[in-house]
Amino acid sequence: MRVGLFVTCLVDLMRPSIGFSALKLLEHAGCRVVVPETQTCCGQPAYNAGDAKAVRGLALKFMEEFAGCDYVVAPSGSCAGMIRTHYPDLFRAEPEILAELEPLCRRTYELTDFLVSVMKLERVPGRFSGSLTYHDSCSGLRELGISRQPRALLAKMPGVRLVEMRESTTCCGFGGTFSLKFGDISARMADHKCDHGEATGADALAGGDLGCLLNIEGRLRRRGNHTTRVLHIAELLAGEEGQD
């Protein structure tokens, strides 16, 4: 099975270890993974800023790069959601493009969803030991229905004790450019997330989208919390947490 890894622009730049963890997990699950080297970004920032036209070129580029793949997997519900639910809308009036793009979009998955729903993964290599609380990122949750998948995978790690926080499904305040345009509101939302996360007493807060994790970790550190670890689900499952 040929699986294309869509690394995402944020992981490429800010935390490559998540990309390598995703790669490891996919290979562990028995996939033949290809990583198209020319990939960049799915275009969501421009799409949500109101410049859908700017995204069309990126969508076509994506289609070309991943054309031969049985599946495309991204370690992000936000990017996978953009591709899966919004790319087709950009070409509604162009049936020829849609005929090729839409099936590819339907074969695009968020990492944990793919591992659970498609690969039916039985065992994970991760060895994390301690308590965890899980933040449900918005796009993954509401566009792709990702909620039980990461928890099901964490349950396969005997050392993990999952402690749910209050309002785990409430937005952390990241929202892409929202976090820059409305920094004060965004930071307040992150504050609530930090409060709820800290209240669980968990050793680490985990999630499936790096954007949210940077936001939450950034706020935690600014508040003076330097102990709660903030980890991506891929790093945890792959046993690569603490690596760069």
């Binding site: 490429d12 990309g19 960049t40 410049d51 070129g57 920094g183 004060d184 509101i185 965004s186 550190r221």
Partner: protein, 468 residues
């Protein structure tokens, strides 16, 4: 009501620092979010009911003129008068004319957001008519001379203590802290206003085309007093509120109170049909229904049409993490939260509410809870696109996005840029590997650090690994 949506950012910053407001917003969230969840859990399936409700609303909108004319015919047949108002000013003028024709000196009002759109109270006062708001929340706001901050719970931003102080000051009575006592005091003050009013003014949650009825869904008895005691009853509502049949109404009534306040049904659901008949013991001698357009018909056939399905339950704002943190007044016009961020630019002009469609993280919570399936995030995004199309975004933002999209299409150039950025950010991160300041992104770093990257991009590391 004057629109000050252009001041959203400034107002939001103030509201974030308002400790009392923050406490009030927490209470609202606990009550309405949990209440809705519990009330909907009683139903077999929210999804199928919401689909049915959306279909009812779409059916009404698809043939809106037909259903409105049907409503008009049926209402007139039952002794009501129907008026059509294109703008808020037209609606105000019609109410003032009705008042003049019937020698009205005083009016008692039940809650109506449409009348807030028109600034009706002000117009009536200008015409020398004394108006009393009789919904408890609206009455408090009238005393405080403030606009509502929520469409269902208009005074949600005020604490019990603030209301106690306000009553003490305005009623010249001893301070009370018990909510029941405060309510009793309001009731005593308001009773003469009901009994003495020449005109009762109400809104309508729905209009039923097949019977010509105006429907109001309330928890306080004031709605029935206002619509039955005074000799003239005026309903003022938006043209989109019409539903074809009583059966359609029943579908919507299963969802409205549950979505709004977490109640299976409100204390009162009143169907007001025509003026007092010959054999009726009581009721108004005159019933007038004013159907207001005020920008609504412009949305028919438009990409934003689905916002006209809105049944004003407030669930979108109750679940909106932005509303939950800044409250309704930050939004600057009648309707706050996600539905308001669509309606304000739609009715007041895109250029007068530039921040509202962007004041949203696209978290999707509003769309998920909407009982009539309005795709609110999509509508907000569409408004952002319109701002871009009309050149209303700041040039720096447009340039940055374009430049970024242009680069992202060129893999080699993009790789050079990200390689440099990764290196620079890693250096700037220092020993604790945190960026405390981000030049050009102060919005982020004013309240947050940025965890620094390790310094090499995935792309470079992956290529290196392949060579090994």
């Amino acid at each position: 009501m004057e629109c000050s949506a252009g001041e959203f950012k400034h107002r939001a910053a103030q509201k974030l620092g308002d400790v009392k407001l923050q406490a009030a917003l927490r209470r609202l969230q606990d009550k309405f979010v949990d209440g809705r969840a519990a009330a909907l859990a009683e139903l077999d399936g929210f999804d199928s009911l919401a689909d049915a409700a959306a279909a009812v609303r779409e059916r009404a909108l698809a043939d809106l003129d037909g259903y409105l004319l049907r409503f008009e015919r049926e209402a007139i047949a039952r002794g009501a008068h129907v008026h059509w108002a294109e703008t808020g000013a037209d609606a105000n003028r019609i109410v003032v004319e009705i008042a003049a024709a019937h020698g009205v000196r005083t009016a008692a009002k039940s809650k109506s957001m449409v009348s807030e759109e028109c600034g009706l109270n002000h117009a009536l006062e200008q015409a020398g008519i004394r108006v009393t708001e009789t919904d408890l929340g609206e009455y408090i706001l009238q005393l405080a001379q403030e606009p509502p901050s929520h469409i269902v719970a208009p005074v949600v931003h005020k604490s019990k203590e603030e209301i106690s102080e306000l009553f003490h000051e305005k009623h010249h009575t001893p301070r009370k802290t018990d909510i029941a006592e405060l309510c009793r005091e309001a009731r005593e003050v308001l009773r003469p206003a009901f009994l003495g009013a020449d005109m009762g003014i109400s809104g309508a949650n729905f209009l039923v085309a097949e019977t010509g009825s105006a429907v109001i869904v309330t928890n306080e008895g004031n709605g029935r007093l206002v619509t039955t005691l005074p000799r003239v009853h005026v309903v003022i509502t938006g043209i989109e509120k019409v539903v074809p049949t009583l059966e359609d109404l029943a579908t919507l009534l299963r969802l409205l109170p549950r979505s709004a306040t977490g109640q299976a049904i409100t204390n009162y659901v009143s169907l007001l049909t025509g003026a007092k008949g010959e054999r009726d013991p009581d009721g108004p001698e005159q019933m007038h229904v004013i159907l207001l357009d005020n920008g609504r018909s412009r949305l028919l056939g438009d990409e934003l049409q689905s916002i006209l399905r809105c049944i004003r339950c407030g669930a979108c704002m109750n679940h909106c993490p932005v509303y939950q943190n800044v409250g309704g007044h930050a939004y600057g016009w009648v309707y706050p939260g996600p539905m308001g961020s669509v309606l304000t630019p739609a009715y007041q002009g895109l250029e007068n509410a530039l921040d509202l469609p962007h004041a949203c993280t696209m978290c999707g919570a509003c769309g998920a809870v909407c009982p009539v399936r309005i795709p609110l995030p999509d509508l907000l995004r569409r408004l952002r696109e319109r701002q871009t199309e009309r050149g209303l975004r700041p040039w720096r933002e447009r340039l940055a996005l374009r430049l970024w999209a242009w680069t992202a299409k060129r893999a080699t150039l993009y790789a050079v840029g990200t390689r440099a950025a990764a290196w620079l950010l890693a250096r700037a991160g220092g020993k604790d590997r945190l960026l405390h300041r981000l030049p050009g992104a102060a919005g982020w770093s004013a309240g947050r650090d940025m965890p620094a990257p390790p310094g090499r991009t995935f792309r470079d590391l992956y290529r290196e690994r392949g060579r090994r």
